[in-house]
Structures are given as structure tokens and as C-alpha cells.
């Protein structure tokens, strides 16, 4: 009997205290993250000619990547993070007939975060190790990690990013498949996963009930930077794509190139609000 009495008395208190929390929880805002690509400042489109180095043009056919662990940081040094995205797939392979879609970019799915001012923006390029231990077979069709086109069974890894296209090696104005002018960079494996924290000059302010748009612009040309004085063309610090036209990750050399290309995502990325 005493027990029942105690329960009856404590129940309203419990209800009241949980009610209290409600208004506090509502102070959240939406953040939309939109990815866009450019090539040396110009809108990036597949099936379009760009200059790679003087006298050698380049044409892309695919450009996509996994992004992960995107979160907002309260303070520069703090570990107080609000996660926006655990993992998503960004496909920026819009072609010359899809210019307006390329201008709009690809928006990733985000969660609501507590309103407030944030100093840092953290982003992972690729599939982080914990998720990279899974495989498409662990997901139902429709999940971003269920796509078998981005999984490498022999290496037990997702392909974090695909950059494919052609370079006009003999500068004859034609991109020849049969002459081996194609390149295919499939970047993956735990070793090449890259994370970056961006501290924009103005803090990122999320307001209660409002939607904030954050643009992430990637300069695809910068992905080919080769500061390591290896694998580069003579006069530029750019990957010598004529010789190194692919990285599928299972040769020592390819892994070094893949690491550098993935690392370059940090440099190639600009945040705009």
C-alpha cells in the first residue's frame, strides 16, 4: 500500500519534470549542406573540356565521393560536437546537359542541431574505419552504403571517391578509349580516409527554427596536386596523369597516389555560408 502511494505521488513529479525539458529541446535549427564542384574556379561539368596542363586537355565522366562525420564544433579546441551527417554520398557527375543542376549542387541529408554559434566545421572525406568494416550486404537496398559500384570485395573496402575521365595525351582533339587515354581513380581503404576541420572567418550561427545553408565547394583540379615531388609533371606540381592514369589501391605506388588525392580534399574544399 505504501509503495502504491509513493508511486502515485512521484508520478506527477516525474511528468512535470519531463515537461520542463520540452521548451529547451525545441531550440534547434536546420542546417543544409550543399556540395558543388568547380574546376579551377569554373563550374565543373562532366563531358566538358578543361585545360589540365598547357597543350593537354582533360574531360571528366564521373566525380563522386562519400562524406562522413560532418559536425559543428562549439569551440576551436572543444570536443563539444553536434553531428549533422554520419555518412552520405555526394554525386557531382552532372554533365554539360545538366548545367543548372550542377549550379544547384548536391544536398546531403542533415539532422537538426541545437541553435547557437559554432566556430568549427568538421568533415570526413571517405568512409570512416568503423563503417568501412561493413559491406553493401549489411544494408537494405536504397541505403547509401548499399551500392555495390562503390565497394571493392577483394580489398574489403568501400571506394570513397571515384574520379574518372580522359586526357587528350596526343593533343589531337579526340579522347580515345582504344588508345588508353582514359583515367580512373578509385580511392579507398582506411589509410586514405581524410578528415578536416574548417574554421570559417565568421562563426556558423544556427538560429532557432531557421534553416542555414552551408556550401562546400570542391575544386577538382586541386585534387590532382602532387606536392610530394613524385609522380608529377615537370613544370607543375600536378599528377602526371599521362603516366599514372589510375589508382585502384592495390599497388604500393597507387596507394601513395590515392592517399595524396584524398588528402587534397582538405585543400580543395572551401566553405561558404
Amino acid at each position: 500500500m505504501r509503495k502504491i502511494l509513493i508511486i502515485l505521488i512521484s508520478l506527477p513529479i516525474f511528468i512535470a519534470s519531463s515537461c520542463d525539458k520540452d521548451p529547451e529541446m525545441e531550440v534547434v535549427g536546420d542546417v543544409e549542406i550543399i556540395f558543388r564542384a568547380n574546376y579551377d574556379g569554373e563550374l565543373f561539368l562532366t563531358q566538358k573540356d578543361y585545360e589540365y596542363i598547357p597543350d593537354m586537355s582533360i574531360k571528366f565522366s564521373t566525380f563522386d565521393l562519400y562524406v562522413s562525420n560532418i559536425s559543428l564544433l562549439k569551440e576551436e579546441s572543444s570536443t563539444d560536437e553536434s553531428e549533422l551527417v554520419e555518412i552520405d554520398f555526394v554525386d557531382l557527375s552532372f554533365d554539360i546537359n545538366q548545367q543548372s543542376r550542377a549550379e544547384e549542387g548536391d544536398t546531403v541529408f542533415t539532422k537538426k542541431v541545437p541553435a547557437g554559434s559554432y566556430k568549427g566545421f568538421k568533415i570526413g572525406f571517405g568512409v570512416p574505419a568503423d563503417l568501412n568494416r561493413t559491406s553493401p550486404n549489411d544494408y537494405g537496398s536504397g541505403d547509401v552504403l548499399a551500392t555495390s559500384s562503390h565497394y571493392w570485395a577483394p580489398l574489403d573496402s568501400y571506394i570513397f571517391s571515384k574520379i574518372e575521365g580522359f586526357v587528350d595525351k596526343d593533343n589531337d582533339g579526340i579522347y580515345e578509349t582504344s588508345e588508353g587515354e582514359g583515367f580512373t581513380f578509385h580511392l579507398g581503404r582506411d589509410e586514405v580516409y581524410t578528415e578536416r576541420i574548417i574554421f570559417p572567418s565568421d562563426p556558423i550561427v544556427v538560429e532557432d527554427g531557421q534553416k542555414l545553408e552551408i556550401y562546400i565547394d570542391i575544386d577538382v583540379k586541386k585534387l590532382f596536386n602532387m606536392p610530394i615531388d613524385q609522380f608529377d609533371t615537370n613544370d607543375d606540381n600536378l599528377l602526371d596523369i599521362e603516366v599514372y592514369d589510375g589508382a585502384h589501391g592495390n599497388q604500393e605506388e597507387e596507394l601513395i597516389i590515392a592517399k595524396q588525392l584524398m588528402r587534397n580534399y582538405s585543400e580543395a574544399t572551401l566553405l561558404e555560408q
Partner: protein, 359 residues
């Protein structure tokens, strides 16, 4: 008190008697409620290491539905002159294909494309057909019946025949719980066919067993596997696995694998995916087909242009033909004769004995 109880008991008996009598009465014409409707969920036994696929909420698989679908699939009643069924172009012992470059319908008219294998078709959520023009199996199954180069019939006529049939009305009742023959319609027929098609799961090839650690590949097959998937740093990359990835042996993407020479996007005789998306840069792209049971499904490609696997390998080895949107994964492979043999030896491990026998 007693009296009241007695009266109500009596009433109950009378009511029960009436309903009893009702049961013994023959059902009204077309009525099916006397047939029991107790559907059992169909166990889609997915092989180990296979992804899950989506089953539409309004058409969950049942044992009764799959078996009705199977009967319909093999029934020539679906065609105008009772000569052809779905299985006339999708033979079970040929991995659900027909050995023809292009399929021929009941009037001897040739279609423009090669019949596709239906194994693991439940997984193709990126669209069906070589060009992805249809989204679901239910939608797809409506088409062959009225297609002039296929069964060239009308659904009205097919339903006439099904309703008059000695077995179908009961089978529709058991699968879908309809209460009268009048409720039989084409949408239920295609639901059943789709359920049957979803049950065609192949995961019992030597290669599957190798992946599960239950079989060993021969030396030749193993080298072929390594070439196919770029699994050995010491061997060249034949690039196949990028598009024909395990376990389904396809990534389901729409790509141009360089089989047709084209200088502009208008040069493709069959525009394929481009006709569906309206983007000329998709012209000449086709859905990457699965390579399961590939040694049984000659001739090859959407129009059956290659008669043998040797011709297919020659094509890929050459680096393909010029085209404005050929995938860069198509490039000269420089494989020697031994390596070409090894690739074919590997392709031979993709045969599933469950789809090689006559029904």
C-alpha cells in the same frame, strides 16, 4: 431464470442450424469464399553474403502467390494463339534467356533486343530492361502480354480465359483472398508473376561457394578471378569487376562499354538509356547485365552481337570502339592468350546448377 437460459440456448441452436444449412448450399456462381484462404509467407532464402532486396508492401511474397505466378509464367494461355508463354523467351534451363540474339514473338516478328536473364531480378531497383524504362516487376509483367512482338494478346482476352479455367479461380482465391471470380484482374495476375520472379534467386555457383569458403577454384579459375577483380598486384587489371561486381555480378549502372562506334551521340542505332532519360549523353548506355550463368546465355550484349565469350573478351581486350560517352574503364587490356583463357575459366564458375535444368 432457467426458462430464459433455455430459450436462449434454443435460439442459438436454431441460428447454428441455419448457418449449417447455408454451408452445405452450393456457392453462388463465381463465388470463391468456400475455398480456404490461408496464405503462408514465402521464404525468400537469401544466400549468405547477399544483400537484402525490397519487396513492395502491397505485394508480399506468399507460397500460394509464387506458385500461381509460376503457373502463369509457363502458361501459353497468355498468348493470342496459345503457343507462347513468358518461358518461351525466358527458359529456365538457359538461366531464363532464349539463346537468340533478338527474341521472336508469336507472329514470328523479331524484337530489337536480346531477352534478359531473370535470375536475381528482384535486385534491379535501378530499373528493368536494358534501358531501365520500367520501375517494378509488377509494371513490367503487364507489358509482354500485349506487346506485338511478344505474346500479342489483350488482357481482356487473357482474363476471359483465366476466369473460365478449371483451376485459376481457386488459385487466385488462395493467393489473394478474393471472394468471387469477378475480382480476378490483370493487376493480381502480374502481382503473382512478380512474386514468382522474385523467387528466382541464384547464389549457388562455384564462385558463390568459393566466397563462402566451401569450394576451391582451380589454378586457372583463380587467375581469372584475380584478373577480373584486380585482386592481385602481380596481374593486369581486366577492369571487369568495376562494372560486374560480386555478388550479383553487376553494379546495375547504365554505361557504354564501347561496343558501338559513334562519333556523335546521335550515331547509336539503339539509343538505350538515353531514350528514357532524354539526355543525349546517355545514348548508347545500357544496364550492366549480371554475368551469372553467362556461358548459357549466348549470344551476348543487348542485341546479341557477339556469339561467343571469346568474342566478348576480344572486344574488351581491344579497348573498345570510339564513342562520346564510353566509360574510361574500357581501355586496351593487353591480356595474352593464357590470361584470356583464365578469364573465361573464371566466367565458367558463375554457372548456377539451379538454373540449368529443364523444369
Amino acid at each position: 431464470m432457467y426458462k430464459a437460459l433455455l430459450v436462449s440456448l434454443l435460439c442459438l441452436c436454431v441460428v447454428m442450424l441455419f448457418t449449417c444449412k447455408d454451408k452445405t448450399k452450393p456457392p453462388a456462381p463465381g463465388e470463391l469464399t468456400h475455398i480456404s484462404y490461408r496464405p503462408k509467407p514465402y521464404p525468400y532464402n537469401l544466400p549468405e553474403g547477399f544483400p537484402r532486396f525490397e519487396v513492395p508492401k502491397d505485394n508480399p511474397g506468399t507460397v500460394e502467390g509464387v506458385s500461381l505466378g509460376e503457373k502463369l509464367f509457363f502458361d501459353p494461355l497468355l498468348s493470342a494463339d496459345n503457343t507462347m508463354s513468358c518461358s518461351s523467351c525466358h527458359f529456365p534451363h538457359l538461366a531464363m534467356t532464349d539463346k537468340k540474339a533478338r527474341s521472336t514473338g508469336i507472329d514470328g516478328k523479331e524484337g530489337i533486343r536480346s531477352a534478359m536473364s531473370l535470375i536475381n531480378v528482384a535486385y534491379y531497383r535501378e530499373g528493368l530492361f536494358w534501358d531501365g524504362r520500367v520501375k517494378t516487376l509488377e509494371e513490367q509483367a503487364l507489358l509482354p502480354v500485349e506487346d506485338s512482338v511478344e505474346l500479342h494478346n489483350s488482357w481482356d482476352e487473357v482474363l476471359n480465359r483465366l476466369k473460365k479455367h478449371s483451376e485459376y479461380p481457386a488459385l487466385f482465391r488462395k493467393a489473394f483472398g478474393i471472394s468471387s471470380i469477378e475480382e480476378m484482374d490483370k493487376y493480381l495476375a502480374v502481382k503473382a508473376i512478380a512474386q514468382y520472379e522474385r523467387s528466382l534467386i541464384s547464389g549457388n555457383t562455384k564462385f558463390d561457394r568459393f566466397r563462402r569458403g566451401e569450394a576451391v577454384l582451380s589454378e586457372e579459375e583463380m587467375r581469372g578471378y584475380e584478373l577480373f577483380f584486380d585482386a592481385s598486384p602481380d596481374l593486369p587489371d581486366a577492369e571487369c569487376g568495376h562494372c560486374h561486381n560480386a555478388p550479383l555480378m553487376t553494379t546495375n549502372e547504365y554505361l557504354n562499354n564501347g561496343i558501338s562506334e559513334a562519333f556523335t551521340t546521335e550515331d547509336f542505332t539503339d539509343k538505350g538509356y538515353g531514350l528514357i532519360t532524354g539526355n543525349p549523353l546517355d545514348n548508347g548506355k545500357f544496364r550492366v547485365p549480371s554475368l551469372r550463368n553467362i556461358i548459357l546465355t549466348a549470344p551476348y550484349m543487348h542485341d546479341g552481337r557477339f556469339k561467343t565469350l571469346e568474342e566478348v573478351i576480344e572486344h574488351y581486350n581491344s579497348g573498345g570502339k570510339h564513342g562520346p560517352n564510353v566509360s574510361p574503364l574500357i581501355r586496351p587490356l593487353n591480356l595474352n592468350e593464357v590470361q584470356k583463357r583464365q578469364l573465361i575459366a573464371f566466367l565458367e564458375t558463375l554457372t548456377d546448377p539451379n538454373f540449368t535444368q529443364q523444369n
